[in-house]
Structure formats: structure tokens, C-alpha cells
């Protein structure tokens, strides 16, 4: 069971909102890069987020660049999962590949600052603050196996190949 606060964002949060290209000179200095997480969507986020919190987006979360640094800095901030109405393809793969769960549900029913609980095994999100209970969409099986191993690199280290 995951439990934390919801940080609410709107639709179309791009990888430039999450970790802008102008900071590419910091990509080989990840602790420094991570200080800028979500900077162009909410400059106060990095200072406020605590380990276990959730990013709650709208539709098409993570559109844009293939930069894996986007889910990486979110994970480094201690965020335990990203919830969104829909998620862009590359960001989805990248997040799962790093062991960061991405859950598709009706995020309109979650308010900024709410305390929420996520049960990954049952597939439910509970908003403790407003009492809403939501089901999240099934993660494809191949991605679930990768997530179970903590990401694609540990998955390949363990299996040596794709087990599909």
C-alpha cells in the first residue's frame, strides 16, 4: 500500500515541463538535475514534495521528448507513482523501465493536496480526503513483469532476455 499527498497538475504536462532541455548540461549530474523536477510546471514543487507523494496529472502526461531523465527525476524526488487520465507512450515505457508505477484513472476525482492511498495489487486508488475510490487501468502484462523486477535493467540482469 502506497500513501502520500497528491500534487495536482493539468493536461499535457510535457517532458520540458518536467525537466527542460535547457538543463541538459546537468544530465550527467543527476542530483543537481533532480533539484529542478517539474520546475516549468510548478517551481515550488521540488521544495514541497516529500518521499511517498504522488504526481497527479490530467491527460497526455509526459508528452514530448524521449528523455528518461523525466521519470528519473520524478523518482529521485521520492514520488511513489504517477497518476493520470492518460499518458504519452514513451514516458509510460520509461517510467515502468525505472520501476516507477504509472496508473491510469479518472484524476478529476482527486484534488490537489489530498491524501491518497494506492493498492497496486488490487488496482485501486482511494482518496482519503474526499472519500472517492477509483479503479486504475490494467498495466500490460509485459510491463507488469518489468515493474515487478524494479525496472528493465534489473529484469534483464535477472532473466538475460525478454520473457514474453
Amino acid at each position: 500500500m502506497l500513501r502520500g499527498r497528491a500534487f495536482k497538475f493539468g493536461d499535457n504536462i510535457s517532458t520540458d515541463n518536467i525537466v527542460p532541455g535547457r538543463l541538459a548540461h546537468l544530465r550527467s549530474n543527476l542530483p543537481e538535475l533532480a533539484k529542478h523536477v517539474m520546475e516549468d510546471a510548478d517551481p515550488t514543487f521540488a521544495a514541497r514534495v516529500k518521499s511517498g507523494d504522488f504526481i497527479v496529472g490530467g491527460s497526455n502526461f509526459g508528452l514530448g521528448s524521449s528523455r528518461e531523465h523525466a521519470p528519473l527525476v520524478i523518482k529521485m524526488a521520492g514520488v511513489s507513482a504517477v497518476l493520470a487520465k492518460s499518458v504519452a507512450r514513451i514516458f509510460f515505457r520509461n517510467a515502468i523501465n525505472l520501476g516507477l508505477p504509472v496508473l491510469i484513472c479518472d484524476t478529476d476525482k482527486i484534488n490537489d493536496g489530498d491524501i491518497i492511498e494506492v493498492d497496486l495489487t488490487v488496482g485501486t486508488v482511494r482518496d482519503i480526503t474526499n472519500g472517492n475510490q477509483l479503479a486504475f487501468g490494467k498495466i500490460p502484462e509485459v510491463m507488469l513483469h518489468i515493474l515487478d523486477e524494479g525496472g528493465i535493467i534489473p529484469y534483464i540482469q535477472k532473466h538475460g532476455d525478454f520473457k514474453v
Binding site: D16, E68, A88, N94, V142, I153
Partner: protein, 418 residues
């Protein structure tokens, strides 16, 4: 079940996975080309190293491109270049030189062929779909695994057939078509799907025009933007000295599509994407009066010879009002543009010519916008902060719209100046 025909995506993935690949299936596909660039490459190499492997599955199919920060504007990025060059040398794969050009243009010119599966650590890897390759962008970990195993897992996408008929009117180009389509279906209108382009307009398009369209498939969320490999493809590959790489590739007549979108090219007008999403489109003529401080012509979307020709022909003998920055997509394009006189024409109008590469597109160098400034760019993305400053504004348009805008300093419909 009665067997039915296959889309381009299903055909390519069937061949590369050795299975009967159908939309929705998960397949393991062999990879013909895997690449990274200088801003995604260092993490890719680190993930490759951490996976514990000591060799590339196919060094001759693995490429490193230095294009995003090229030449480097910061010592940390210079050190990333050193890291990538050292990696390429150690593992026996190719690494491009600063100034060779944008990875996607170099892939099109020298590497991609019909029927290939291509994965790159860059979202605009989709560009090679113009040549009939199943080409898609991935993150660093996926690319590291693809380098290690020589294969990747893919969900076979449903395909959307985009059927385009009619001739482009004067002043309307492939860029206007793809901006119109993205405006129509939205920035997530084709998420997880393949866009497959057909119709008489598409048949008549040059490969450069097809590259512009395939390049922006990802801006509608698509996994790939695919074109059949036809006589135009053959001619292009012959022109690049790669005629023997050609195979014809068409979908089956009874292929099953998720949906069909019909567009009459003859009815299109010059289009512009407004800040801060690509699907926020308007007709260029409706944005008259919007002040522009910088015009940027280049990138993997519109930095090819025909793009520079269109711009040069509009600007010849005149003076650009706002800053005009031009970045040819590759060394080959730059050399041809010098030979044809386009570079001289553009420099005479006041243009700054950047080295072949990504230039000002992603906000790292060579044209970062100031607070409150607006840019009309021929690139593919106008997200907030994309060109290095979240306090600036990016409009996207064709090279003709960019050149017309350079003449007036405000967004201008190119038909007014042609």
C-alpha cells in the same frame, strides 16, 4: 479466423519478429538500427554498463550522434561528448562528428531502409518512417537493452490510415498538412497507434516532404508515422548511393485500420501552431499582427535543401526584419545549399547560418529566446520552455511561412509575399 491483410506496421513487425503480428500483439522484434544522441546518450551508456553486459549485440548497427549540443556550449556537455566518443571507440560502433547534422537526417540519408525496425533514444526517431521503416523513439534504458540484445519488445500498434488527395495550393506544404492533422486529432490523437499515410498527394510527395510529416507523427502521440516504400523511395535511395537497399513495401489491400482520416490537400491553407502545444493550430492569415523577434529555419522537420530553397526564393534580394537563424539539417544539405547559392542568398538577407545540427530547437544553445520574445520556428515542438526560456513563445510553421514572417517581423501568410 479468416486471415485478413496487414498494415505496414503489421507487415514489418511480422517479418522482424518471425510471427504473425497483429494489432494488439506483443512481439519481440529484431532491430536493424539502434542509436542515441548526445543528450540521451550518456544515460543510455550508463544503463548499458549497469546491465552488466560487456558487448554490443551488433556494433555495426549501433550509432552515436553528436547533434543536440554541437558544437558544445558548456564544459559538462563537452565531457558528455568525450564520454560518448570513448564508448564508441571501446565498443566498436560509429560516432558522428559535431557538424555532421541531426541524427534523423543522417539516418535518412545514410542508414534507414524500407522494412527496417529502428529504435533511437530520441522521440523524433519516427522520421525514418518516411522511408518505410518502423522507426520509433524510446528512452535510454530501452535503448541500452536493445543495444545489448539486438531486439526489443513492441506492442503492434493499431493503424490510422490518413488518406490525402488533391494538390497543395500555392504557399501550402507538407508542414501545413501535418500541422493541420495534429490540430484535427490532437496531441494525443494517435497515442500508441501508427499513422499510415496514403493517397495521391502522398504518392506525389518527395522523400523530404514525407520526412517532414513522419517526423511530426509523435506530436500526435503516434508510435510511428509510416509511408509505403515506392518508386519515390527507390529514387531517393539511388540518389544517396543506396539503391540496393530498396525493397517495395505496401500494406495489403484488405488491411484493417482503426480508422481512416480523409484530407483534401487542395483545401488546406498555411498553418501555424501557437504556444504552448503543437495541436493549438490556427491559419497563418488569422495570426497577422503577431510580433515575432526571431525566425528559425532548420531542424529534422524542415532543415533540408528544398526547405532552404523555399526560404531563399522568398527572401532573395530582401532584408530580414527580425533575427533570422538558419540551421541546415546535415553537412550534405549545407554543401548542396552552398552550391545552389541558397546560403549566399540567406546570408545577404541577414541570416545567421548555424552548423548542421539541432541548433536553436531545444533550448540548449544557438538561439535561446529572451523573456517575452516570440519565435516563428520550422521545428516540431513549441512546448513552454522548449527554446530555453519558459518566459518565451514559440510558433511553428512551414519554411515559407517562416520566410514570409522574416520579411515583416510579424506572422505572415506566405501567399502574401509569393
Amino acid at each position: 479466423m479468416i486471415p485478413v491483410g496487414k498494415t505496414l506496421a503489421e507487415k514489418i513487425l511480422s517479418q522482424k519478429s518471425g510471427s504473425d503480428a497483429r494489432a494488439g500483439d506483443i512481439v519481440i522484434a529484431n532491430i536493424d538500427l539502434v542509436f542515441m544522441q548526445d543528450t540521451t546518450g550518456p544515460l543510455t551508456v550508463k544503463q548499458f554498463q549497469s546491465s552488466g553486459t560487456s558487448r554490443l549485440a551488433n556494433p555495426d548497427k549501433t550509432y552515436v550522434f553528436l547533434d543536440h549540443a554541437a558544437p558544445s556550449p558548456a564544459s559538462s556537455l563537452s565531457n558528455d561528448h568525450i564520454f560518448l566518443r570513448d564508448f564508441a571507440e571501446q565498443f566498436g560502433c560509429y560516432c558522428s562528428c559535431v557538424g555532421d547534422g541531426v541524427c534523423h537526417q543522417l539516418v535518412a540519408e545514410s542508414l534507414a531502409k524500407p522494412g527496417d525496425v529502428i529504435v533511437g533514444a530520441d522521440s523524433h526517431t519516427v522520421t525514418a518512417g518516411a522511408l518505410g521503416a518502423f522507426a520509433t523513439g524510446m528512452g535510454s534504458s530501452d535503448i541500452a537493452v536493445a543495444m545489448t540484445l539486438g531486439k526489443t519488445w513492441l506492442r503492434v500498434p493499431e493503424s490510422v490510415r490518413v488518406l490525402v488527395t488533391g494538390r497543395f495550393p500555392r504557399g501550402v506544404y507538407a508542414k501545413d498538412l501535418i500541422l493541420y492533422l495534429i490540430g484535427l486529432i490532437g496531441a494525443d490523437g494517435a497515442t500508441y497507434q501508427a499513422l499510415e499515410f496514403h493517397g495521391t498527394t502522398v504518392n506525389n510527395m518527395t522523400i523530404s516532404e514525407r520526412l517532414t510529416i513522419a517526423n511530426m507523427a509523435v506530436e500526435a502521440g503516434a508510435k510511428v508515422g509510416l509511408f509505403a516504400a515506392d518508386e519515390k523511395t527507390h529514387k531517393y535511395l539511388v540518389g544517396q548511393g543506396r539503391g540496393d537497399y530498396y525493397q517495395s513495401l505496401f500494406p495489403d489491400a484488405d488491411a484493417v485500420y482503426h480508422r481512416t482520416i480523409k484530407i483534401n490537400a487542395a483545401k488546406l491553407e498555411p498553418m501555424v501552431s501557437k504556444p504552448h502545444t503543437v495541436d493549438n493550430t490556427a491559419k497563418a492569415c488569422d495570426l497577422k499582427g503577431t510580433k515575432i523577434h526571431q525566425v528559425f529555419i532548420g531542424t529534422c522537420t524542415n532543415g533540408r535543401l528544398d526547405d532552404l530553397a523555399i526560404a531563399a526564393n522568398i527572401l532573395r534580394g530582401k532584408v530580414a526584419k527580425p533575427r533570422l537563424i538558419v540551421a541546415p539539417a546535415s553537412r550534405q544539405v549545407l554543401m548542396a545549399a552552398i552550391k545552389e547559392g541558397f546560403i549566399t542568398t540567406l546570408v545577404e538577407t541577414g541570416a545567421v547560418i548555424l552548423p548542421p545540427g539541432c541548433g536553436a530547437c531545444l533550448g540548449l544553445h544557438q538561439g535561446v529566446l529572451g523573456n517575452g520574445e516570440a519565435c516563428l520556428s520550422t521545428a516540431n515542438r513549441n512546448f513552454k520552455g522548449r527554446m530555453g526560456n519558459p518566459e518565451s513563445f514559440i510558433y511553428l510553421g512551414s519554411p515559407a511561412t517562416a520566410a514570409a514572417t522574416a520579411l515583416t517581423g510579424e506572422i505572415t501568410d506566405p501567399r502574401e509575399v509569393m
